[in-house]
Amino acid sequence: MSSIIPIEHSLILAFLLFFIGAAGVLIRRNLITVLMSIELMLNSANLLFVAASRQVGNVDGQVMMSFVVVIAACEAAIGLAMVIAIFRRYGNIKTEFLRALRG
């Protein structure tokens, strides 16, 4: 049924997704978009887990994928809570305003 898709294709797709996500983290100043880019990177990891699970023929990769989803949920929840807190304090969520820890 799904025997035709070679793992190389999934790998390339995952790499491309990861780099789009990484580029998003680098080039965007909006904290929310940065968080979304991190979600993209997590998703490329998910795709790799699922593809690997297909390749080795057991479901461990899919179990890992569901753990990654849990972690993504936690990351999004805390990240967005911090966005709200930052917005309250600075009235803005651009990354260059966050210099409190800079000497």
């Binding site: 049924m1 569901s66 849990v70 949920a73 929840a77 709200i84």
Partner: protein
């Protein structure tokens, strides 16, 4: 046939028909634009816009939604394997639910869910 192919078919057909239906009025309706018609509805008073911020409770509701959404998915997984796991699965899932209920109780205690 792949069991998910109907999903795609339904999606495609629904998209086409939905697009046609949502542009019916654009074809058949009259077009007489005016400045007042373009305003947002605000009970007749001059437009103030929607630039005000909403309550943080909506965010807290969404957080709780994520918490219990994940729990629901895992509960489905457990329900599907319940017959093979037996008592072992019950103990396991009770611990899982108990931990999440602790979070729920915390939320209640912090009054994060109080509206108005």
């Amino acid at each position: 046939m792949h069991p998910y192919l109907p999903v795609l078919i339904v999606l495609a057909v629904a998209l086409v028909i939905g697009l046609v239906m949502s542009f019916l009025s654009a074809f058949f309706g009259p077009k007489v634009p005016s400045a007042v018609k373009q305003e947002v509805f605000e009970c007749g008073v001059p437009e103030l816009g929607s630039r005000e911020r909403m309550s943080v409770r909506f965010y807290l509701t969404a957080i709780l939604f994520i918490l219990f959404d994940i729990e629901t998915v895992f509960l489905y997984l457990w329900a599907r394997t319940f017959k093979s796991l037996g008592w072992f699965g019950i103990v396991e899932i009770f611990v899982f639910v108990a931990i999440l209920v602790a979070g729920y109780v915390y939320v209640l205690k912090r009054k994060a869910l109080e509206w108005e």
